[in-house]
Subunit: 218 residues, 2 copies
DNA sequence: ATTAGCTTGTGAAATAATCCACTAATTATT
DNA sequence: AATAATTAGTGGATTATTTCACAAGCTAAT
């Protein structure tokens, strides 16, 4: 499978394409053009064609892309053929919400274990997911061969827990804490920092306003 | 205030710098160099200096940056001088978690109103935040002059609610739904799509593995 | 068949972002 | 006071990403 040397920017868009292709399939659409896709996912159509072209010639001129085929292809690329179990560490309010969140609806991923140091949570089942005490973290993750972890612990704990996760063999971390984690290069981190996003939003709104004012003054 | 023409990539990093500067201030650090910052936030030091330089000459050669001054400067840039009230629309499990989340700890932002169509939630107070029925959305947002909204509604509702928000005068949306919203160009959207991030993670882990295998084979 | 109309895939240009490497300024040391 | 050590700011090279624009190929209509 031609998988090498895909630009990062392209890789980030793959899940977006994948999701929309599922929408099309459910709507019984047989084919789709890059222009059509472009409107739905708000990515320039040339960019879409370029993105796809990294994986080969997936479309047909004058026709577009066959939805089912394309979807099948991306399913493989994105590892959606088999179920992937992930763990969640840190059952606070955000952690609990994510345990409730149905990742499995859109992806072949599910949270199969959670960890938290709080005594009252240990060995309970929450939203259908077993919660283990924090001191069993490394052991359980090794046992269950979990490769991906959702990290929803307080900032102060983030690096410490990360080090444990790495020693347990984890290769991917979805980090909700604001800390920039240090990890070896065979471990991938994706950061989701909600506070950041809100501030970025604030910044863009303000700078938009200033630009608009500039326009007016001309 | 020199605010125009800041590259997007730079703008996105501002909150990261801002947060770390706060950490330094709390640790009573008087000054910081771009090299030191670089280690903490994992951005190349030249990139940091370039980023700062868009706003003027904020540092001193041979010395670095004065933490307090720099912080004061970014506080202005990021609109952290005054409290900003935001609304949250969609009090599901994720929405509830965010209502519990202390944005105010790190930013001068707070959620001052929430909206949900569920009868049993209407006119209650949850996590200290009043919850209004959905049909008061436009009215309340206008009344309270809310400019920024956190959107945690189901995908099927996202665009419809967005249209209402726009008619109520909102200029920023932090969108947790997987839908790519259509908005006029004076409205900013930041997307947080957790499913996407997990899939991206999966993709990078897999492609990392293939690359490592390639290396070995050489 | 032939032709008109789409739509892909892609060279090449344009734009954006990062990073190297050096000068100039400042601090710290002797 | 002179010198060594730091460190910002930046010109310019490099790398990454997006976009234009068009030839080539396919579909569908006549």
């Amino acid at each position: 499978m031609a998988n090498r040397k895909i630009p990062r920017a392209t890789a980030r868009r793959l899940p977006v394409y994948y999701r929309y292709l599922n929408v099309l399939l459910n709507a019984n659409k047989k084919r789709v053009s890059s222009t059509e896709l472009s409107k739905a996912v708000q990515v320039d159509s040339a960019t879409i064609r370029r993105d796809f072209s990294y994986f080969g010639e997936l479309g047909k001129r004058g026709y577009g892309y066959d939805v089912e085929n394309l979807l099948k292809f991306f399913r493989g690329i994105l590892n959606q053929d088999k179920l992937t179990s992930v763990a969640l560490v840190g059952v606070g309010s955000l952690g609990s919400a994510l345990m409730n969140y149905n990742f499995h609806q859109n992806t072949n991923l599910r949270i199969s274990a959670a960890f938290d140091p709080k005594k009252e949570l240990a060995n309970t089942i929450k939203s259908g997911i077993p919660v283990y005490p924090a001191d069993e973290l490394v052991e359980q993750i090794k046992d269950q061969q979990i490769d991906i972890v959702i990290l929803t612990v307080p900032a102060s704990q983030a690096q410490k827990v990360t080090d444990q996760l790495i020693s347990a063999g984890v290769h991917g971390i979805l980090n909700f804490s604001p800390v920039r984690l240090s990890v070896p290069k065979d471990v991938q981190v994706q950061n989701i920092d909600m506070t950041n996003e809100l501030q970025t939003l604030t910044y863009f709104i303000e700078s938009n306003r200033l630009n608009a004012k500039d326009e007016q003054e001309k």
